[in-house]
Subunit: 327 residues, 2 copies
């Protein structure tokens, strides 16, 4: 059977879904739903564009609605709202609020008999799975998560809000020595500053006080103050030419020990190297949307996370085929 996918929000993630769904022959793009003026939206050939207000009219035609809004203001409202009409998948990543988000989405989905997967993608998502599997199969051990090298949208935005800044991109870079130490099996204690550096490419307005901008960046609490941060001022042309991609990735490490005397060291490493963060994330969301459609058909309703989904549900192959070709 075909899984019909709706896309709510047509930014980088929405465009990613529109592209990556073509690599899944058992899935079909029903259409995208946007807040913008439909006529102004340039979608790929064959993509139907609807206004977000029309979504409810299509609730019986869509197997899973993938919510592509942001975690700050969109998803806390949208996910519970749309889970009352659709099976949904979101990529909610505001860590501190996941429990609250889960509860509100769960109540809405249960009431409607829908299935709602929250916090999907790669972190939270695939990295969460790596942390969970690692901690369960090596209960005596230590976790490390490294991010990058990659563009952090949140940090880039924070720089853009500084007075005198026209545009900016921020790279999060894992420190090679720290990464090697984490993989060594020696379970080092690593501080925030030891694990990552931050590199910023900033376009300033004509006549702006560059020293003041740099100082505001490197001393910004939460975002930069705890890191060694480098600031480069570049022209808008240079920024567009050299820093317009959205690469990302990272590594989750579980360093543990086995043996009666803990004499054996074991290191598990899960690493992603991604040319495009939003396209990869979209691809992950689609695999989990397949699982959500199936689970709903089996009567499993309410909110879920990636932890609650047996891996076989992600695959278009049957159990028999999986045992034959993947095990």
């Amino acid at each position: 059977m075909t899984v019909k996918i709706g896309v709510l929000g047509y930014g980088n993630l929405g465009r990613g879904i529109e592209s990556e769904i073509r690599k899944n022959p058992d899935m079909e793009l029903y259409g995208v739903f946007t807040r913008r003026d439909k006529a102004s939206v340039k979608a790929a050939e064959g993509t139907r564009v609807f206004n977000i207000e029309e979504a409810a009219d299509h609730k019986d035609d869509i197997d899973v609605m993938i919510l592509c809004g942001g975690s700050a203001t969109d998803l806390p409202k949208q996910t519970p709202e749309y889970a009352s009409m659709f099976n949904v998948v979101d990529s909610f990543d505001t860590h501190a609020n996941i429990s609250e988000h889960f509860d509100s989405v769960c109540a809405s989905a249960l009431k409607a008999g829908k299935t709602a997967l929250i916090s999907c993608g790669w972190d939270p998502g695939m990295f969460s799975l790596a942390r969970l599997y690692g901690s369960c199969i090596l209960p005596s051990g230590k976790d490390y998560t490294f991010w990058g090298k990659g563009i952090s949208q949140g940090h880039s935005d924070a720089i853009r809000r500084i007075e005198g800044v026209l545009d900016a991109r921020q790279y999060t870079i894992p420190v090679k020595e720290a990464l090697e130490a984490a993989k060594s099996g020696e379970k080092p204690e690593l501080t925030t500053r030891q694990k990552h550096t931050r590199e910023c490419f900033v376009v300033a307005k004509d006549g702006a006080d560059l020293e003041a901008i740099e100082s505001q960046i490197v001393n910004m609490p939460n975002y930069f103050a705890d890191y060694d941060t480098t600031v480069h001022f570049v022209t808008m042309e240079e920024l567009k030419r050299d820093h317009s991609g959205m690469p990302h990735g990272g590594t989750v490490i579980r360093s543990g020990e086995t043996g009666p005397e803990n004499e054996y060291k074991d290191v598990i490493e899960y690493k992603l190297k991604l040319d495009s963060n939003p396209y990869f994330t979209s691809s992950v969301l689609l695999a989990f949307a397949r699982a959500v459609a199936r689970l709903n058909r089996e009567g499993k309703t309410g909110a879920l996370t990636v932890f609650d989904i047996a891996p076989a549900y992600l695959s278009p192959l049957s159990g028999e085929e999986l045992r034959k070709h993947m095990l």
Copy 2:
């Protein structure tokens, strides 16, 4: 609640379970069951040793029996047999026979209302999961599995069966250039010979024909003929001193592409570096035994593989704790 574990077969894997269960506070070793004379078995302090014939008498006291026999002759018989009395976990790894094994175990477990997980460990097991997740989240792509550097028991045994050989250890070694090529995102075609080399340490009998032994090793079909193989003759002392460990590991790589023109390359890498293959495998079996106990309590019976188990079942933590600390 506590999960009571029985161990059937008291070799390397059985000893691994006996050791690693202590790192899981919610689990308890009920006892080990052996084919040998009980009195001759030296178990750890506090471990109860039973004869294998006594197993049936304890069927109501054990939540999960972990079957630690070999795939060649033990498990094809034992897993269906014990699945008629116990929830079981095995590490059956004869690839060509997995479907048949699954079916026979499933029939037995279903009839008895038991839950039976087959082919658990790291390959099959964690590597299978890496392959499955990788292929689902990057449907357009290519898989690579590299093993080692590590001791292959099967290959070591094959050498030991050659006339004139007293003892032997065989290391499977991934070729660095092939590993780098697979991680490059370029999706190279790699032959068996390009991916791994094999290095053998052999103790020959006094007066044995070393050239004949070497020739028999490097030309052995299936085991060595398709590989570049190096043979070193060593003394028994050297073998025991330098090659008595059981390190292993390997890497599963999914190299895929996203984007409307497949212009973005993504590489997923799952790597294990293990000082002790049997102790790590035991640790994996225990995490999955926890899941099996729970699934049986929920009424899920029959045969399963690692693909069928939602990751949350592996953890002693509640869903709420997992969402808070692992997501």
